[in-house]
Amino acid sequence: MTETPKPIAALADTGPTAPPRSQWRDVWDQFRSHRGALIGSVVLILIIAAVFLGPLVWPYDATFIDIRARNQGPSWAHPFGTDQLGRDTLARMMAGGQTSIAVGLTAMLLALVLGSLVGVLAGFFRRLDGPLMRLTDLFLSLPLLPLLLVMVLLFRESLNGVFGPETGIFILIVVAIGVTSWMPTARIVRGDVLALKEREFILAARSIGTTNFGLITRHILPNVMSPIMVSATLGIANAIITESALSFLGLGFPPDFPTWGRLLNDAVQYLQDYPERVFWPGLGISLTVLSINYMGDGLRDALDPRIRGR
């Protein structure tokens, strides 16, 4: 009897037990293990949930005036107190947060996309560099206030006509902030791209026939992520504050429409007498910016394969 020798277990081929891990799975795992990023995301989600769902359960309306209850400190009925007209600060914080976060995020994204696009194109294609950077110079030089006033003059009525007053003004504000704040991102990205495109790995990628589009999306963009992330976090704070400046020009939302920037601005003159009124909007803005900053940090680490491997 001849027995066929048993195959040596160690030499046997075993099929893959788990499906191959996608890159994004790795990114997600790394992101999850970043404590700051996790806390940041949770806080941001909580804030968003509070401002968007809160008004459904909170009994007070943000614009309801109860003149007898004005200038109250925190109490059970009004946990954040009331303002100089007796409007509930918690309700105003929630309503304000909706606008501020929506405006801040969209305006920041718009500025980021515009800025990165211009920056990458200018840095990568030498022929576009001149015209695009002169355009950036032009936008940097234009005085902000008159520019905004002209935008309202030209577009307010027509936008209101097409989208209705609220959406119309929202679009106007987001575009106004986005269009006037993409330039620093563009310049920073362009500087980085200029240096990157001379590196060996770009040459290598080009030598195996990678198209320009592939070069930009696979090799350039991931490497300029970190300045873009920083621009994003600084940009959102900027957008929230700029929105409040716009409403002073009569360019923003109607005056009874609360936003965090406006609440902060209104409260400054009561700084000594009712300091809590400044505290809440300040906290709202700071928390949002901080949580997005930490999320950005985590995302940056997660996207960097050198760190991810560790």
Partner: protein, 335 residues
């Protein structure tokens, strides 16, 4: 590099002329009226006459031509006259402000000292603080120092100066009574006592402004350092046995400077745009206050001149940044 630089400077001239035209047209189009601040008790017919006296009756292209002539010919001549005591610009009309009825340039020169003392100083202070913070935060990522730095700078950045300015005034001027809340622009530093006084009135505005600069630059510095610290050349440098100091401060830092240079160069022109809100709060009355009051009063010659000068600085520092890129990273080639 030299030919590149020269070419950029030559190209800057048509760019700037175009920018000046766009600014002019923008201001033309913007709603506003130089008579908006005249009380309502002044009848409309009188206001119309005042507008005509300011030259508002002329068509746009004539007013633009006038401004170009006054700015590019008469003002430099006046400057030469002042320098050498000649009289070339005698009898020529300079760019006149509608609010002051006086040459725009004289007022700008008058505003320079306080702007440089406060805004430029805060920028320098901000950069000096930001760079070490950024470098060390990246080097010791997620250390206590990094976390605190991140927290303070981000909170500092998200708190607008209209709040932080008032807050420091309430603390240091009202409650403690240590520092003056109103900046004295007529103060001339001649001895120790006046220097001390100058220092005291500068502290708060410089602090508030430097916080913003620090936050911004340290974030970019940190991010850029982090990108480079994990690169292969850093490992190589360490393997060669270079000291940690020269690895970080020479190799990594130099390669991380490109975004930071961009940010710093972007910020310099805005020094001359002044710091509108902070100047207003501390009553520094520098160029920022000049520009904002001119915009509010629709003083077009003043707004046009100041914004154009800022545009010149923007274009100039843009070129400087591009040249510096080549210095820090010799691989970057423009020709």
């Amino acid at each position: 590099m030299l030919t590149y630089t020269i070419r950029r400077f030559v190209l800057a001239i048509p760019t700037l002329l175009f920018i000046s035209l766009v600014i002019f047209l923008l201001l033309e189009l913007a709603p506003g009226d130089p008579m908006a601040q005249v009380p309502l008790t002044v009848p409309p017919e009188v206001k119309e006459k005042m507008r005509l006296a300011l030259g508002l009756g002329d068509p746009t292209h004539i007013r633009f031509g006038k401004w170009m002539w006054q700015f590019f010919v008469v003002e430099p001549m006046t400057f030469i006259d002042w320098l050498f005591g000649t009289a070339w610009a005698e009898g020529q009309q300079r760019v006149l402000s509608w609010q002051f009825r006086s040459p725009v340039m004289d007022v700008i020169v008058q505003r320079m000292p306080q702007t440089l003392w406060v805004v430029a100083m805060s920028y320098v202070v901000g950069i000096l603080i930001a760079l070490p913070i950024g470098i060390y935060s990246a080097y010791r990522q997620y250390s206590v120092f990094d976390q605190t730095g991140t927290f303070v700078t981000m909170v500092g950045y998200s708190v607008p100066p209209f709040f932080s300015g008032v807050l420091v005034i309430v603390i240091f001027s009202v409650q403690l009574g240590w520092l003056p809340s109103i900046y004295d622009t007529t103060l001339v530093v001649v001895d120790w006592a006046t220097f001390k006084q100058q220092l005291m009135q500068m502290v708060m505005p410089v602090m508030v402004l430097a916080l913003q600069t620090t936050a911004q630059i340290s974030r970019f510095m940190r991010a850029s350092m982090l990108d480079n610290l994990n690169q292969d050349y850093v490992r190589t440098a360490r393997a060669k046995g270079l000291s940690e100091w020269s690895v970080v401060m020479v190799h990594v830092l130099r390669n991380s400077m490109i975004p930071v240079i961009t940010v710093i160069a972007l910020g310099v022109p805005s020094i001359f745009g002044g710091a509108i809100i902070t100047e207003q709060i501390f009553k520094v009355n520098g160029l920022g206050q000049l520009l904002i009051t001119a915009i509010e009063a629709n003083d077009l010659p003043m707004v046009q001149t100041v914004t154009f000068m800022i545009a010149v600085l923007i274009v100039f520092f843009n070129i400087v940044a591009d040249v510096l890129y080549g210095v820090f990273d010799p691989r970057i080639r423009y020709d």
